[in-house]
């Protein structure tokens, strides 16, 4: 499923403009421990996390993550968003919890 379609379905905020909107999302992962993400996330994923240290971009780059979704409308520093645009990683944000968002996105990806 295209990232743009997921964004449309869930109605979340896009912080990085058009970055990766046309990319195909194949998988999802939810974790805030970056060592766990490095070990277990599959490529072409949307990754839901409340971790907002700039290392999320290094991990996303390493693991070919297409989009990072920040739940609970948590604040993220402007320099991280700018760097994400440069590195071509989408950052999204939504008021709902990681639990709710992962349920919704899981069902969308199952439907394909």
């Amino acid at each position: 499923m295209k990232l743009s379609d997921i964004v449309k379905e869930i109605g979340c905020e896009i912080l990085t403009g058009t970055v990766n909107l046309d990319k195909e999302i194949k998988n999802g992962y939810v974790s805030d421990l970056l060592s766990d993400v490095i070990g277990n996330i599959k490529e072409n994923s949307i990754w839901i996390t409340i971790q907002r240290h700039i290392n999320i971009l290094g991990v996303a780059k390493l693991k070919d993550v297409i989009a990072i979704l920040i739940p609970r409308s948590l604040q993220i520093e402007e320099n991280i968003i700018e760097k994400a645009r440069e590195e071509k990683i989408a950052i999204l944000r939504d008021p709902r919890s990681a639990f709710e968002l992962s349920g919704i996105i899981y069902n969308l990806l199952q439907k394909g």
């Binding site: 993400v37 490095i38 971790q51 240290h53 700039i54 290392n55 290094g58 991990v59």
Partner: protein, 238 residues
Amino acid sequence: MSTFSCDLHIHSTLSPCGSLEMSPNNIIAKAKQVGLHVISITDHNMVENSFYAHEIGKKVGITVLFGMEAQTAEEIHLLAYFDTYELALAFQEKIYALLPDVQNDADYFGDQVVVNEENEIIRFENRLLLNSAQISITDATAWIKNHGGIAIPSHIDSPTFSIISQLGYIPDDLPIDALEIRNIEKKTELLPLIMKKDIPFVCFSDAHYLEDIGKRRINLNLEKPTCKEIASALRHLQ
């Protein structure tokens, strides 16, 4: 210059996980017995027992750095040391204001007790200290360094609460003085995850029980055991 034997990671009764025998008095007596010259009491998000340990240490010739093991928003444990109690207390006030107002369950986690030189209880801390202050590792490190302190991420080889478990790797722009590692043999394995290669490694006991004090330690050549000199000696460890 003389050689100082240092164990800078010791928990006291003020840490919920610290044994109730870990009063400042008992810690200093044990440190003396095992030949340490410099120690630090590093309780979770608190510095108050290091005040009493410092007073007792003065009498028996043991230097006590005012310390804390802070837990940042990323759930990283970060050791902080200061030369004066005023600076350490200012750091504690900053951290405490950012610590969630959740009460400790003493039956489950253990009591968090401030104990003086006479082994008397000064107060119980009721807020749960095993929790993350809402301050980033970047901002906490910057605060420590801007106030003349020493910043050392704890047990980087641990699967929990370590900068590597939480952040995947150690960014190169963090002005830390050293990295604490439990098992120095893991160093080679972890090096690829450390972006700046010249950060020294240190081993401290992370003692929660008296018998563990000084079991891991480092020796530093110093004129005087101040934060400035220790930071400089650490740079030359590599």
